[in-house]
Symmetry: C3
Subunit: 324 residues, 3 copies
């Protein structure tokens, strides 16, 4: 039996191929539970999960919340923004107070890269990174790995195309590390201002022309343009962006017929994807949402087995473990 | 055994007499549970209820939340306002994402009439309308039906007087449909600007003079003046409104001695009702609050039995089903 | 077996020595549960606890919320500020509505002294004061009593020094009453503008010079300077305050070697305590946070045993009562 030994889940860059597979396999086991009418297991009953979202979030917070509830954990939710003064210290103080409430897992989102890792070093409880600045969003990366494997049967050898604002995207970064470790060939595509050439030295192929990259792809992951983050500084106009990098039915005609279309959500319809593509037969966007809960159940479950002096051995939940 | 077959609860206008009675009977069974020290049944354990209140609400949200918790459901709560741009599409996108999280029942409140029905057509999970614009507020209507039957022993043949802003009130609309279907005689009373004459063609009696209508009534439902919605455009002044349509002890003297006084809350004391009437022996306002939870338990329970390929047959919760 | 008979917990001034000990002993029993991996008992399963925080709060709300969850209670959470108009009536109306939802315990925080007591007189459910104006914060006082007894083995005969804004501090007031009833000698220390001389008539010693009071102390409780409440009107400057009343390593040298340092949190580092003291070996601040949950579990558990026609006899939770 494979074992999970890390206290924290901070990024996919740190993980081995075996650890990535362990997370995905665990998610697959939990997904089966989510398809039953009674979507609840007692795996984390009596454990406490704190959700500390220091940056606004609806979907990721909801996904973690449902994941924790379906594992029967107790949940404590913190929101708001972290202090602008001595930020690091304040976040760490808050984390130590949360830990003192005998919290088992602290899920943290922050708009500054590195905050979850700093917190993880300062507390004894497990820390799960729910997105930090433009660094990593490891559970979203795992969602994408899990969804690709589920839909295509494998990850190794696939051509995966990530389109959009690579420069600022923590999703792109987590996707990239996970895909490369599991043997996919990754192409990054977008306007030159938004695709850092340095990624080529890390093993990605870089393209500035979607019409060249799309026909090769088995999977395309369109990233959300963060309209609220003044990305217009990096692109001539949204109309221009959509014309060059938006995916519509016309462009899909040039792609492989079994291409799957992914997006971390929420989609700016008519910008990254046309409505027909977002809702079309090749889109697996809503499946990503469903898989998000299974992946987060797996993450919470695996890290919570590593402290309180317990062994890191985590058996898969058996049917007998299910509440009736 | 009677069966509930509707996926959704969108309004009382759609329901048959039998469906209304099924809901009220189910609420009565659940009310008994709420009076025990251990107010919890495992009926919806492992099911997920999403509360999506796109318009501010405290009481209705709290009532639905407690109803879901006392049925042992897991709850996911969304708040905030829906986008002002492509509103319908945005709400539907949000709903499809919530559905993808394997939510069983989506409770939705929106300030636009028809949004819950639009969402219900677009998703496979059950939808319960928690109030949409000035259209319907079906669970509040059911609370009133249940409370009247509980207090008066019947609904058929009663004279029910609804006083206030009929024009904008979704509570009045749901009350009206439910009362008429169950055989009550409904009189609508208020200033001519706030009582649409068209209601007469639907079977209501319309009166502009409370002193004429009140002596006939077995039940009076005073509606809340939504002070925050600039209703002053429709009435000369609050003082004038209170003089003509507010109910105080003096006016109660002209009423039947066993008249019961209802209000959906929160009461503007001294406007719709004088404090002596709101807190007096004929007021059943707090009983309405208690019944609100039982009615919402019934609604969540019945609609959640209709999907996931289950039969629509919903046995009443037996004492053995109660947690100890 | 000792018995708890009060419906409410409004302040430590009202309690007897026996009642204080009953609460602390109950907290000790619950703390043991919080140290297990499965931190949950079914003691309040099927009961409802409403958290009504009409003044912003993160830590106390979180502590009550986790306490209620670890007792398996259902929770209803209200926030926001109470109306500025007919405030008392509005709060009481809200409380009566919450009670009508069959809530067992209403936890209330308000910035006006006396609001929890007023509510408690108006409702049949139990009320727990989570801090009212500058009156009392009884559960924080109990946390301090419990922590002192745990760390020093006793309370009677100890010299306890409370430093800071005594005038406005509800924590100081609850600490004072609890400590005096359990036989400690209490010294209040701070700037003359912030230490009311009347406290001497109630049995406290008053000192304006920390260098005189600190060497005698077995326990020091530093109060938080509420920077947001314009306390600068009462002190020449924060720098001056810190110089005179802030505790740093230099001042600690004059204290007993086994002095323990307490603070209700959050600490203004560098103001009331230097970082080295706040995080040092004599600090028990994080232990206070851990104990906060056990104390609030005890408070919720004891008051909830006194109504609904039940006897006030509350057995300690047995190991068999623990969920597995």
């Amino acid at each position: 039996m494979k074992k999970w030994t890390r206290k924290d889940l901070l990024g996919l860059e740190d993980l081995t191929r075996e650890e990535l597979l362990l997370l995905i396999d665990q998610a697959a086991a939990f997904k089966e539970i989510s398809l039953r009418p009674i979507k609840k297991v007692p795996a984390l009953r009596g454990r406490t999960v704190a959700l500390c979202f220091l940056e606004p979030s609806t979907r990721t917070r909801a996904s973690f919340e449902l994941a924790a509830k379906r594992l029967s954990a107790d949940i404590l939710s913190f929101q708001g923004s972290s202090s602008s003064l001595v930020k690091g210290e304040t976040v760490l103080d808050t984390a130590r107070n949360i830990e003192a409430m005998r919290v088992d897992v602290l899920v943290i989102r922050d708009n500054t890269s590195g905050v979850p890792a700093m917190v993880a070093r300062g507390v004894g409880c497990s820390v799960v990174n729910a997105g930090d600045g433009s660094h990593e969003h490891p559970t979203q990366g795992l969602v994408d790995l899990f969804t690709i494997r589920e839909k295509k049967g494998r990850i190794e050898g696939l051509n995966v195309l990530i389109v959009g604002d690579i420069l600022h995207s923590r999703v792109a970064r987590s996707d990239f590390w996970g895909l490369v470790k599991l043997g996919a060939r990754v192409t990054l595509c977008g306007p030159p201002t938004l695709v850092p050439p340095v990624m080529e030295t890390l093993g990605a192929k870089v393209s500035y022309r979607l019409e060249e990259a799309l026909p090769e792809a088995d999977v395309v992951i369109a990233l959300r343009l963060q309209l609220e983050r003044q990305q217009e500084r990096y692109i001539p106009s949204f109309r221009e962006y959509t014309k060059l990098y938006g995916i519509d039915l016309e462009k899909l005609k040039t792609a492989k017929p079994d291409l799957i279309v992914m997006h971390p959500g929420p989609v700016n319809r008519g910008v990254e994807l046309s409505p027909e593509v977002a809702d079309g037969p090749q889109s697996v966007i809503l499946e990503q949402v469903t898989n998000g809960i299974a992946v987060r159940m797996a993450a919470l479950y695996l890290v919570s087995g590593t402290h309180h002096g317990q062994t890191a051995e985590v058996p898969e939940p058996s049917p007998e473990g299910v509440e009736t």
